[in-house]
């Protein structure tokens, strides 16, 4: 069973669509997306209600989790970096984790084949 890796990309919500398409291009067949709130160097914004101002300092972000094996991790990282970079504070982070196993519930397949598009399965042979 090939080593599998989870890549976690935390970035701006407006980049999601582009990121998804870029990942498709490099053969990433699936991902899981979560709405998160981020805190970091990026400032939040100010809101006013009946004359009281608030600094709201959690910024909406999306977290995209991608588990890969075949696809080299670096190409995923590279692609994410190019797609999500705007150069402004708040572009986000990419975190990489090791993962022990993966299972495709529908078929029970374990390991790499759990996350590879059956269409590409032959590549494994």
């Amino acid at each position: 069973m090939k080593k599998m890796t989870k890549i976690e990309i935390i970035t701006r919500p407006e980049k999601l669509e582009a990121l998804k398409e870029a990942m498709n291009k490099i053969g990433v067949t699936g991902m899981t997306v979560t709405q998160v709130l981020g805190y970091g160097l990026q400032k939040g914004h100010r809101e006013v209600y009946r004359g009281t101002e608030y600094n709201v300092n959690l910024v909406p972000k999306v977290k995209v989790e991608i588990v890969v094996c075949e696809v080299p991790v670096d190409s995923v990282i590279e692609t994410a970096k190019t797609v999500c970079r705007t150069g402004n504070v708040g572009d986000g982070k990419i975190f990489v984790y090791g993962i022990d196993n993966a299972v495709r519930i529908r078929t029970g397949e374990e390991g790499d084949s759990a996350i590879i598009d059956p269409a590409d399965i032959h590549k494994l042979k």
């Binding site: 006013v48 209600y49 004359g51 009281t52 709201v56």
Partner: protein
């Protein structure tokens, strides 16, 4: 207002002399006018709508976890106060006078309040129509108070307070100002649609309670954002709509005075919307939607006591000033004094109502309404003095009574929810409901129908208690 209307009635007679219907009215006094009746009944419906509208206006401003408790307070008041009103409230407020202070119980259970007109109050519509129209005012007034103690008051305490307050504060003050024989009415205080009776006493009572029960946990250091501003705007829109019934309907007929009241009501609301937004824009660099919604309410409150007595241009002035005054009271004054009037019941209704009552003493003009009076700007300083007395008396009475009621209640019951309940939110802890369950991510199970005794229930129902 009723003073103006009693005399207005006679005045209309002059105006109607040519009209056979009026002559008939002379002959058989109990003749109702279909146009006036249609107008007052529809107006009563419009005023009823204002209380659910207020529920939304307030509900949108509080935090998600308390939206239902806030809505519930206004909505439940429609139930209890309407019943109180027909049982004895109307009799206390408008029944035969007892020493200029309160009505007696002759009209208890609407005994003698039939479907033919009562000329003392309105000669051209069924007495029952007048009664229910007034009943809607009795309903919304305590509902306005709830904005001051939102997000922390126990529901049981709220319910008890509301009934007692309506009986001991609203009904008497309504009698003073509108009841035949009421002392403020006899003194000549003008309050066309309730600046004093409705807005001042509710705002002041709210402030007193807010200070007595203390601030919400986290007030001043936590971020407390309105959870649903479109809901607040919807509430404001419906309030504006309903307010036409409130003010124009107070003419108790589809006549010139009604038309004037309708116009000035709209103009003042519009002017205050603009002035509040501009004031905020200048001071914070943002023209806010909440500012626009709050502004229109401020303008409507300000014009309420004056609606039957001032001209459209005066209404522009009253509105522009009303918007700015209320804005400053909720943003600057409140911040300085540091009390927690959660949704600004005092800041908007107390302050706006007082401004309106005084403005009536400034801008009122007999040219607009023969039955009214001239104000200071039209050379009659006396009227302004009257208005000051009216404002002072109602503030004093409302503050003292509310203080006493809460003090006594606190001897026998909790007024405020526990800290744990406040943290969990009143929706779950007090009402066992949540405002929204958007995501279908709920797991759990129906509990087979079981009767639990109330007492133990709450305890067992929250992990935090």
């Amino acid at each position: 207002m009723k003073k103006s209307l009693a005399s207005l009635a006679s005045f209309s007679l002059v105006l109607l002399l040519a009209l056979p219907a009026a002559l008939a009215a002379e002959a058989a006094p109990a003749k109702i006018d279909t146009g006036d009746t249609a107008f007052v009944l529809i107006s009563a419906a419009l005023v009823l709508l204002m209380t659910p509208a207020l529920a939304l206006f307030y509900g949108g401003m509080c935090r998600t976890k308390n939206v239902l408790s806030t809505i519930m307070q206004s909505f439940f008041i429609i139930g209890i106060i309407s019943v109180q009103w027909v049982l004895f409230g109307y009799s206390l407020a408008f029944g035969p006078d007892i020493s200029h202070f309160i009505g007696n119980l002759d009209w208890i259970g609407l005994n003698g309040v039939g479907n033919s007109p009562n000329a003392d109050y309105a000669a051209t519509i069924p007495h029952s129509a007048f009664m229910i129209f007034q009943g809607m005012f009795a309903v919304i007034t305590p509902a306005l108070i709830t904005g001051a103690f939102a997000e922390r008051m126990k529901f049981s305490a709220f319910a008890v307070f509301t009934i007692v307050w309506a009986t001991l504060v609203y009904d008497p003050v309504a009698h003073w100002v509108w009841g035949v024989g009421g002392w403020l009415r006899e003194m000549g205080v003008l309050d066309f649609a309730g600046g004093t009776v409705v807005h001042i006493i509710s705002g002041v009572s709210g402030l007193v309670i807010a200070m007595m029960i203390g601030k919400r946990k986290g007030f001043g250091n936590e971020v407390m954002l309105p959870h649903h501003l479109p809901m607040t705007v919807l509430g404001a829109g419906l309030l504006w709509f309903g307010w036409f019934g409130f003010n124009a309907g107070s003419a108790l007929g589809a006549n010139e005075i009604a038309s004037n009241a309708f116009v000035v009501t709209h103009v003042s609301a519009a002017a205050a919307t603009v002035s509040w937004v501009l004031a905020e824009w200048l001071m914070h660099g943002k023209p806010t939607v909440l500012g626009a919604a709050s502004g229109c309410i401020a303008g409507l409150v300000s014009i309420t006591p004056a609606a039957g007595f001032v001209s459209p241009l005066s209404a522009v002035a009253i509105g522009l000033l009303g918007g700015v005054i209320c804005y400053l009271s909720v943003s600057v004054v409140k911040a300085k004094l540091g009390y927690d009037d959660s949704l600004d019941a005092f800041g908007v209704h107390g302050v706006g109502g007082a401004w309106g009552a005084l403005a009536t003493g400034l801008f009122a003009s007999k040219a607009v309404n023969e039955a009214g009076a001239d104000g200071l700007l039209f050379g009659n300083a006396a009227q302004f003095t009257n208005q000051v007395i009216g404002v002072a008396a109602s503030i004093l009475f409302a503050a003292v009574m509310t203080f006493a009621i809460i003090k006594i209640m606190s001897l026998v019951m909790d007024i405020r929810v526990s800290e744990a309940q406040e943290m969990q939110g009143l929706d779950i802890s007090e009402h066992g409901e949540r405002g929204y369950s958007y995501q279908d991510l709920v797991t759990g199970s129906p509990v087979s129908f079981a009767v639990l005794e109330p007492q133990s229930a709450p305890a067992t129902k929250t992990s935090m208690a």
